[in-house]
């Protein structure tokens, strides 16, 4: 079996020797220019004009503004869901850092000086800078199942709470960038290579803006990508368009790579949200009805907000059984940079709320957070908020059991309480606590998404009995190359070494759909499996008695046999259709499940939190490559911990960012990170390769509430607070925890 084995990652050698070529490692092309972006310093305003400083030498500088797009016949639009975002602002600017003009020069320093010599004439307008002030609704959804109002009215216990979460920056360590060239009258006309997750998104945006009819007219290829986490899902379309425009106007190749500051300021972030939860249950803790009101901050343009809000809506009732559900959600526009894809994609925001609320209910009922979760966790046969019957691969209970067992939860909690008592008796100021979260994440695109996407892969036989996997699914660190080779080798009954992976390049691979939504292994992997099996079985069927696979393959290739290539399109499994109007039906083909147990230490003087240990169990269906899979779980969980206790974007009153540097946007280092104890649970999903389902986003969902729950446990002997939870809002920076603790009653 190659599936299930921790084969060393195929790109590992290049990455540990420094030979892997990232976008900034591409050798300079002859005549190449350095491109920069001129951005609005104003959150909202009327753009009256653009002035080029007459004292500056513009002779070797290319400048592109919205007027040039008109002159070139380019459609001023970044193609995505809604057609509202311009490539370059015209008439009005809607957020600080909005691109207004582009500049390129062979001399990089001069390009930077030229940027400063472009003057934007903007008359400021009133700006909306937080979701509380937002009135323009970008999208809304409503789930209404059974009779929530009647059920809440009849419930023995009804608890309400409101929970807020903040922006988060992806902070991939390689900033965004592309190199573009324009070849008038040739094929392709436009060529973009860069750090990106979704080559066909950029391809679509180029085709739309430049009115290219032929698919081959635009070529987009991925360079080795230094992390993405959603941040390189949609934004590379913008950078690709900018670089292509400069290349077209100048007739030279253009390199456009962001510095760290620009990357943090201008690119997308996680949507802030506020959720109001009302939960009705029996006195014995049985959940009956839930009502959730969700508001997200979409930012200045719609970009991916409708899909992020959708996933947030579908995860708002958590991993628990209710007979009555209502979720009403809306995203509002603000004059801040558009928020976009970030691992978890709306789910961490609503899961934070429902997990915190379950802790509030546990407190009100005097129940342990574990027992209350165990009592209400969704099980096989239960219904979700969309009325989907969970009929397959439901591993929530297994994860809860595995994580609490690994942590030896009850004993550890008692030991920590004893440790705290000893610390207190000795007059010391450190306290420790244990917290838990349980959660699920829908794998693959929501509802009818995969029907619309029609993702494809191709597997080709090559000389020597080898197979080549052609897919647009990108490896951005998670190990796609290696895992697809494992899946193909297993399906074809060949050695791992006999399979190779074509670099995602729109001139060489079909559109497999984007690398998002925890769909790569489960959805695209399943068609890699089918295509590889089809080619291999064809070769074996045509082989003469005693003829080796390689010899038979070479003979078929020489004869031009058409079935030595196999293109497979994904067909979603038969399921109850999802109704986009009522939000009822099968929202996802299946769900992945998890439980986190966090052990923290809180300093009673500084209110700093350290996460000492993190026990986690993730039901991934089947770990194709356990080392890579556990790497996803741990890395995603640490991002969640970062979001909870370290990371915060600081907004100035003018809508700009005060901490757009790695010096002051703080992500966890090795000394901040906990010791991880990871268990991979495998409750197979029959339609995934080897039983596998999605894992990429799930780990982002549960870290923050587990840490919050643990902090409250740590403080529980020293502080007494009223109804609900002590910590309803993120981030849990020391000053915020202090502020909450200050309002609580100190137990003397």
């Amino acid at each position: 079996m190659i599936i299930g084995r921790s084969v060393p990652r195929i790109d590992g050698h290049a990455k540990v020797t420094g030979k892997a070529v990232y976008v900034d490692d591409l050798p300079p092309r002859p005549g190449e220019l350095w491109g920069v972006t001129v951005r609005s310093p104003v959150a909202h305003g009327t753009l009256r004009g653009i002035e080029l400083d007459p004292a500056f030498d513009w002779s070797d500088v290319t400048v592109v503004t919205a007027e040039d797009l008109v002159a070139m016949g380019v459609e001023n639009l970044v193609a995505l869901i809604e057609e509202d975002q311009p490539i370059l602002a015209t008439g009005v600017v809607r957020h600080v850092y909005e691109p207004v003009a582009l500049v390129a020069c062979a001399d990089r320093d001069k390009a930077e000086r030229a940027r400063a010599a472009v003057k934007l004439l903007i008359d400021p307008l009133p700006a909306v800078l937080s979701l509380d002030e937002g009135t323009v609704v970008q999208k809304k959804y409503r789930i209404d199942r059974a009779d929530v109002d009647a059920a809440l009215a009849a419930s023995e216990v009804v608890i309400e709470g409101t929970y807020r979460v903040h922006h988060q920056e992806q902070l991939y360590i390689e900033p965004q960038g592309v190199v573009a060239s324009w070849h008038e009258g040739e094929t392709p006309v436009v060529h973009v290579a860069g750090s990106l997750q979704c080559p066909y998104y950029v391809h679509k945006a180029l085709k739309k803006a430049f009115h290219l009819v032929d698919d081959a007219a635009a070529r987009v290829e991925q360079t080795v990508t230094g992390g993405g986490f959603g941040g390189k899902e949609e934004y590379p379309s913008m950078i690709g368009l900018h670089a292509a425009l400069l290349a077209r106007k100048s007739g030279r190749p253009v390199r456009l790579i962001y510095g760290r500051k620009e990357d943090i300021e201008a690119t997308t972030k996680r949507h802030p949200a506020v959720c109001k939860v009302t939960l009705g249950c029996k006195r014995d803790g049985t959940f009956e009805a839930i009502k959730v009101d969700v508001v997200m901050d979409g930012g200045a343009y719609v970009t991916l907000t409708p899909v992020v809000l959708s996933r947030g809506t579908l995860h708002a009732c958590g991993a628990y059984r209710f007979a009555h559900h209502r979720v009403e959600s809306r995203a509002v526009a603000t004059n801040t940079p558009p928020n976009g894809a970030f691992r978890g994609f709306g789910a961490p925001q609503t899961i934070w709320a429902v997990e915190r609320h379950v802790d509030a209910v546990a407190r009100a009922l005097g129940r342990s957070p574990i027992d209350l979760r165990r009592q209400n966790l969704l099980q096989k046969g239960d219904l979700t908020s969309t009325g989907q019957v969970l009929d397959v691969s439901v591993g929530g209970q297994e994860c809860l059991d595995a994580a609490t067992k690994a942590a030896d939860f009850d004993r550890r909690a008692r030991d920590l309480e004893a440790w705290n008592a000893a610390e207190a008796a000795a007059g010391r100021r450190k306290r420790r606590g244990l917290g838990i979260s349980t959660f699920m994440h829908g794998a693959g695109f929501t509802g009818s998404g995969e029907h619309r996407l029609k993702g494809k892969v191709q597997v080709d036989l090559e000389r020597g009995g080898r197979l080549r996997v052609r897919s647009a699914s990108t490896d951005i660190g998670q190990g796609t190359e290696t895992i697809f080779q494992q899946i193909a080798a297993e399906a074809a009954d060949l050695a791992f070494e006999d399979v190779s992976f074509e670099n995602p390049d729109t001139s060489k691979v079909p559109d497999s759909g984007p690398t998002v939504a925890s769909r790569t292994v489960m959805v695209v992997g399943s068609i890699v499996q089918k295509a590889a099996a089809a080619v291999a079985s064809h070769v074996r069927a045509k082989a003469a008695p005693g003829e080796s696979f390689a010899t038979a393959g070479d003979r078929l290739l020489a004869a031009g046999d058409a079935e030595t290539k196999c293109l497979v399109q994904y067909v979603p499994p038969q399921s109850r259709a999802f109704d986009d109007a009522t939000y009822q039906g099968d929202a996802y083909p299946c769900y992945s499940w998890a439980c986190d147990v966090a052990e923290v230490e809180v300093d009673l003087d500084t209110f700093e939190t350290r996460v000492l240990r993190l026990f986690t169990a993730h039901d991934v269906g089947k770990a194709i490559n356990p080392v890579l899979c556990a790497g996803q779980v741990e890395g995603g969980t640490l991002q969640a911990i970062g979001w909870a206790i370290h990371e915060a974007i600081v907004w100035r009153k003018d809508g700009s960012i005060a901490n757009a540097r790695m010096t002051n946007y703080i992500v966890p280092t090795s000394v901040d990170a906990p010791e991880f104890h990871t268990t991979l649970v495998e409750v197979p999903y029959p339609n995934g390769p080897g039983g596998a389902k999605g894992v990429g986003e799930l780990p982002m969902d549960g870290g923050a509430p587990a840490v919050a729950n643990a902090i409250e446990h740590a403080l529980s002997a020293d502080l007494r607070w009223g109804a609900g939870v002590l910590l309803p809002d993120l981030p849990l920076l020391p000053e915020n925890v202090f502020e909450r603790a200050r309002r609580a009653e100190v137990v003397s």
Binding site: G18, D24, E174, G226, E634, G635
Partner: protein, 154 residues
């Protein structure tokens, strides 16, 4: 200007006030050393300067004259060094952009401490930010490499 990099003396045309990072990546073509922030926070450009880990984005090329420079390209001699092999086998590299700097920081540690414990490893790589792994597998890989370097089982 003369720079000794990975045991080889290079004659290079560059301003002594250029960042060492740019000289390595540009004229010397050693693009294994990465730039993540340009202000000494991320550690992606960590190199050894006379055996000490430094951020090449904060060092002027002229300051490196006469010193011995080690970059990620100098770690493998023919085959992968144990540290590199352990990073590949144990899941120490995901997207790989922090990996060259992380390896160099680990190399510096293992040169001065042949059997570091977890806390010493975490301290030694605290200046190297990884956004992918959660660090556990990097710590495990470095510990594993220490055993291999000491002649233990791989």
């Amino acid at each position: 200007m003369k720079l000794q990099v990975n045991g080889v003396m290079h004659e290079v045309e560059a301003s002594p006030t250029a960042r060492l990072l740019d000289v390595l990546r540009g004229p010397l073509g050693l693009t294994g050393t990465k730039e993540g922030c340009g202000e000494g926070e991320c550690g992606s450009c960590t190199i050894l300067l006379d055996g000490l880990p430094v951020n090449a984005c904060l060092v002027l090329a002229g300051q490196a004259e006469g010193a011995e420079i080690l970059t990620v390209e100098g770690l493998a001699a023919g085959q992968l060094a144990p540290l590199q092999q352990c990073f590949v086998d144990d899941g120490g590299a995901q997207c790989g952009i922090c990996t060259p700097g992380m390896l160099i920081a680990a190399e510096a540690l293992l040169r001065r401490n042949k059997a570091p414990d977890d806390a010493e490893i975490r301290e030694a790589i605290a200046g190297n930010i990884c956004r992918c792994t959660g660090y556990q597998r990097i710590v495990d890989a470095i510990k594993h490499a220490a055993v291999v370097r000491a002649g233990g089982a791989s």
